[in-house]
């Protein structure tokens, strides 16, 4: 099956600065894919290259098998972007904007779908309000609606929940999950790593324009992050001999891979003379994976 996105050896230079240094990547149709990295890693440049907003210095990018430069009309018809910046046209109402955006994609009559999108994003009561009068959260929803007016099979959300309240965030993810279940490919960039961990089946991590990790979320968690055992002990110095790290005062943290290791750790602490007063077990999370990967790269 044609991949939803295919990126092959893409570089992008801005003078001496290299924003993308030979990125290659494929995203399969129907995936919920995460693109993570620190600020300046090249995420937005990569998305802009896919959207035709930036021209790569070399390499090729395809959306649903269509080259974004040589076959840009078909590629853009299949691509929807929710931009990172909260941009809007102050001259128009929400419905006017969505009608105009539909027209840009060659769709003259799109009222039914516009209503459905507005309804799903709880924007129907604001359909005739001018963009200037909307709150930041509402404007963010309109950006999502604009990206969906032409029913693109591939949707990219560039930090869609930055500065968004919990209620909207939950509603937004519910809707995006529904789109994913309906067959849309979703690519997400976010700094909220718990969102990426919950939603994304596969993740790529970028650093300085290069992919430094690319695998399923589960595999990344397994590969890079271990469970943690936090123990409050009677004698922290004694616990250090077992290999832990003192966090604060009498709390010491140990890493472990399997739950069977916990029993051994506790036995060794007893032998070392560090009495155990309290225990906490932490699951591996993407934040630890991210920090580990970025430190290694």
């Amino acid at each position: 099956m044609t991949p939803a996105i295919r990126i092959d050896s893409v570089t992008k230079h801005y003078g001496a600065f290299q924003a993308l240094a030979g990125v290659s990547l494929e995203v399969a149709q129907g995936e919920f894919f995460g693109l993570l990295g620190p600020n300046g890693a090249g995420k937005t440049t990569l998305i802009s290259s896919l959207a035709g907003l930036t021209r790569p210095s070399s390499g090729t990018l395809e959306v649903m098998g269509h080259d974004v430069v040589t076959d840009y009309r078909r590629a853009r018809m299949k691509f929807g972007v929710v931009p990172q910046e909260l941009v809007f046209d102050p001259f128009f109402s929400v419905r006017e904007l969505l009608r105009i955006q539909s027209g840009y994609f060659g769709i003259a009559r799109n009222e039914e779908w516009i209503d459905e999108v507005l309804d799903n994003l709880d924007l129907l009561p604001k359909a005739n309000a001018n963009m200037r009068t909307l709150s930041g959260g509402m404007k963010r929803r309109v950006l999502v609606a604009q990206a969906l007016v032409h029913r693109p099979p591939v949707i990219v959300l560039d930090e869609p929940t930055a500065g968004v309240d919990v209620e909207l965030r939950q509603g937004l993810w519910q809707f995006i999950r529904k789109l994913n279940r309906d067959g849309h490919t979703i690519v997400l960039t976010t700094h909220y790593l718990e969102e990426a961990e919950t939603l994304c089946g596969r993740i790529a991590m970028l650093k300085a324009g290069k992919i430094v990790a690319l695998d399923s979320t589960r595999a990344l968690l397994k590969q890079f992050a271990s469970h943690s055992l936090r123990v409050r002990v009677t004698d922290a110095d004694a616990a250090l001999a077992v290999g832990g790290v003192i966090e604060d005062g009498s709390w010491v943290t140990f890493g472990f891979d399997a739950y069977a290791d916990v029993e051994q750790l506790l036995a060794r602490l007893r032998e070392a003379g560090a009495g155990v007063e309290e225990i906490q077990i932490g699951e591996p999370d993407l934040e630890r994976v991210f920090v580990e990967v970025m430190n290694r790269a």
Binding site: G52, R55, Q101, Y104, F105, G106, P153
Partner: protein, 262 residues
Amino acid sequence: MPDRESERFSPWIGFRTLFYKEVLRFWKVGFQTVAAPVLNAVLFLLIFSHVLDRHVTVYGDISYTTFLVPGLIMMSLLQNAFANSSSSLIQSKITGNIIFVLLPPISYREFFTAYVTASVLRGLMVGVGVWLVAAPFVDLPMAHPLWVLMFAVLGGAILGSFGVIAGIWADKFDQLSAFQNFLIMPLTMLSGVFYSIHSLPGLWQSISHVNPFFFMIDGFRYGFFGQSDVSPWLSLAVVGACFVLLSALTLSMLARGYKLRN
């Protein structure tokens, strides 16, 4: 399947929508974009005609006020055609909403045509406004209506195209206003809007002949009076060449994505 809808694309609808958006944008602030320039031109007409009408006649027996009206119509048309595309683009660039036009599958030719056509329309609306307001007070002949229309559309298209260049090139409003105040305004003011170049000394007559705005206004005026400072065919050739050159330059900038698709 989610991509069934996205198989179809009509370039005509894309162009038409961008044109409609550009028209709606200026129409929503019509007092500022249409009514104010008309008032401005009418004030020029009142002041200059009051001061000069009894002292000056042009082309033999044409009163100064009658002579002035086509020049003011064309000046307003040109300035507003430039203002439309340039202000729309720089606003979109500064606020960031230009991406809504750049993300869809609209080609650079459709982009160019939509912005320039909307600019021509605004220019024509302002021009017709000045004409309608002046009509009850001035008996303005119309010797060759097609020449009037031709120069109005070509002039508007040249300035609309120039506005696209300025809007793309400028990074801030200050740079755009430099275009307007140091280029467009002097070239229109010194193009024969307020006088026939035959009334100028020899050197200034020669300088006027390198100002393309002079040919736009002189050709346009020929359509009304059947008389002009230079041959209307020469004006048409100069104006036509300017249109082709500026359009080619604008299209080349858009095709390269200059300052739009970095």
